[in-house]
């Protein structure tokens, strides 16, 4: 055995590892019993290829992770932009609503003032009408009183004239019919 070509005692270390961990299969295969259960060059090549494939998969995963990170960052950035735009829109809307509310409040103030004025005018109008009615009633009373005074004067004058002309007949018509 050429020990120097394998780094001195390393070959024995490999033998120990191979026997302890590599032996113990289900018996020997084919005609080469001593090689049964051990790796061929093709096996090793396949393993190396598998390692390369694993590295490629890691690179793909790393690339995917970077892409995901970049995507998340862009989404976050876009979300921030949208959030800012939404804030601006909300601020504009709130300002609009404030202006509208102020206009409505101002309008209501004017309406309230007009209603108050109208109420005042209605009250004044009612007062005038009541005054006129009272004045009319007073005038009617005065006229009625004057009429009563005139009647009384006329009666007194009539009685005087009748007393001058003759007897006073309280029921002149009945007396005339009886005569």
């Amino acid at each position: 055995m050429n020990e120097t070509s394998f780094g001195g005692e390393w070959i024995f270390a490999f033998l120990i590892i191979a026997v302890i961990f590599g032996w113990g299969g289900n018996g020997f295969n084919g005609n080469n019993a001593a090689l049964a259960g051990y790796a061929t060059t093709q096996d090793v090549t396949n393993t190396v290829n598998a390692a390369v494939a694993s590295q490629n998969a890691q690179n793909i995963l790393l690339s995917s992770a970077n892409n995901n990170y970049e995507t998340a960052r862009l989404i976050d950035s876009q979300s921030m932009l949208m959030s800012n735009q939404n804030n601006t829109n909300l601020l504009t809307a709130v300002n609009g609503f404030n202006a509208l509310s102020q206009n409505i409040a101002s309008g209501f103030s004017t309406v309230n003032q007009n209603i108050a004025d109208l109420g005042y005018k209605l009250d004044s109008c009612c007062c005038s009408i009541k005054t006129m009615m009272l004045e009319n009633r007073l005038q009617d009373t005065q006229i009625a009183l004057q009429n009563q005074q005139n009647i009384a004067v006329n009666q007194e004058q009539s009685q005087y004239l009748l007393s001058v002309l003759g007897s006073w007949q309280p029921k002149a018509a009945a007396a005339a019919a009886g005569a």
Partner: protein
């Protein structure tokens, strides 16, 4: 898959053969490598690391393994992974 392939592909023994190759390339001593490996591999404990050749021969004999042919395969494996 044969046991060596299991080791190389990392199944069961965490790619021990490749670890050993790496240690050899780095210039580490096989005794130190096996000593470290024994920390996690109970099967390696109790080996006489002062006489690796004698230990390997004893293990091969005990398991009825042709040591020369197995050494040739290992050398081929190492050469193909340099």
């Amino acid at each position: 898959m044969n046991p060596i392939m299991n080791m190389l592909s990392g199944k069961g023994n965490n790619n021990i053969m490749m670890q050993a190759l790496g240690a050899m390339m780095r210039g580490e001593s096989p005794q130190q490598f096996l000593q470290n490996l024994a920390g996690s591999m109970p099967q390696l404990r109790g080996l006489n690391l002062n006489d690796l050749k004698g230990t390997a021969e004893a293990l091969c004999k005990k398991n009825n393994v042709n040591m020369e042919q197995l050494a040739g395969q290992i050398q081929e494996f190492a050469n193909s992974n340099k």
